[in-house]
Amino acid sequence: MRSILIPRAFSGKVATGFPQKMRPLKIFAAMLLLSASVVAGPSAPVLAQAESAATPDSRIADDEFSKQLSELRKTFGDLSKKIEDSAQTIGRLDNAEAARKEIEELRSYVGALLDAVADNGTVWNLGVKALKRAEDKLKMLERETRYKPEDRQYLIDRWRELRAATEAAIGELEAARKDFAGLLRTLQTNEDFIDELLQVREHAKALEVIHKLTDGIRDASDKLKKLLTTLKTPGV
């Protein structure tokens, strides 16, 4: 999902209009300049200004992506512990209703995991932005003529490394999303089945399903632990 970004130079100024103390002559001059730039289209300095204004935002996105990934690892670590505890509790419970409640709670943990890596989630969007920045930088450097060839090559190599690291992080998030979505589906399907069994008062069968489910949950917990060791933050 794409959000509409308003360039910083314009934000907050369009609606306010001219300061009240501005003299009519100055307003007229400003209007002339404005209409001239609209008729002539953006000149090179205007473009350069726009580019330099966009750079800090892109850098913020890169830094934010790395920061968010670090925070994500911490959150995943905490949730991994909770999921493991939940699996143990569910495995021990001999009351089907209580186990069903536990599964419901477990769904909220898995939901939190999925939330973090969803396509319209913050981390994912920052990752896509960071990747686009690396790609744009590489394109720009390939056209760059100011630097010595070896200096230019050095920068290109560094940006290629960053792009590869960002792609790897995005790939890990994509794989995690698939796993979490699968786990959430498993949990809700089992929960629905347990519900049906409880409606026909088949408590023993419900408990059997619940105990079998713990294997699936433990498997997800192992995958989460593996993700925590492989997910690296691309440093910029």
Binding site: E104, G111, A181
Partner: protein
């Protein structure tokens, strides 16, 4: 003094309403799979980015949302309704059949009609 009491009274009235609203808020997830080249998709009126590898998982507010595509008349055409439930995932597959997009539910709503396909979690 009296105005403070009025404010306090108003707060007492408003707080339970806010609490009730926040109690109902929640998010669920929509998993969209596309088979072959699917057209641009919309969740209600929000256009979705092209899905990487044909699969996307989107966070959505709890409630019923519409999966739509660009229609012939320039207006959005409804593919199916998606019921989003708290901490649950609703799966839909979009495929193309004779140049027309179709929505297949992972699980259909028992209450759906022939003209109104509804996917549930």
């Amino acid at each position: 003094m009296r105005s403070n009491m009025r404010l306090g009274g108003a707060a007492l009235l408003v707080l339970p309403i806010l609490a009730a609203c926040s109690g109902e808020s929640g998010v669920g997830y929509v998993e969209i799979k596309t088979i072959s080249a699917a057209p641009a998709l919309y969740l209600d009126t929000v256009k979705l980015e092209p899905l990487r590898n044909g699969v996307g998982v989107l966070r959505q507010k709890v409630g019923t949302t519409k999966l739509q595509v660009d229609g012939d008349s320039g207006q959005l055409a409804l593919l199916c309704n998606i019921v989003v439930q708290k901490n649950r995932i609703t799966t839909v597959t979009v495929s193309m059949a004779s140049r027309q997009a179709r929505c297949q539910c992972g699980r259909n709503s028992p209450a759906e009609t022939a003209t109104n396909r509804t996917c549930v979690a």
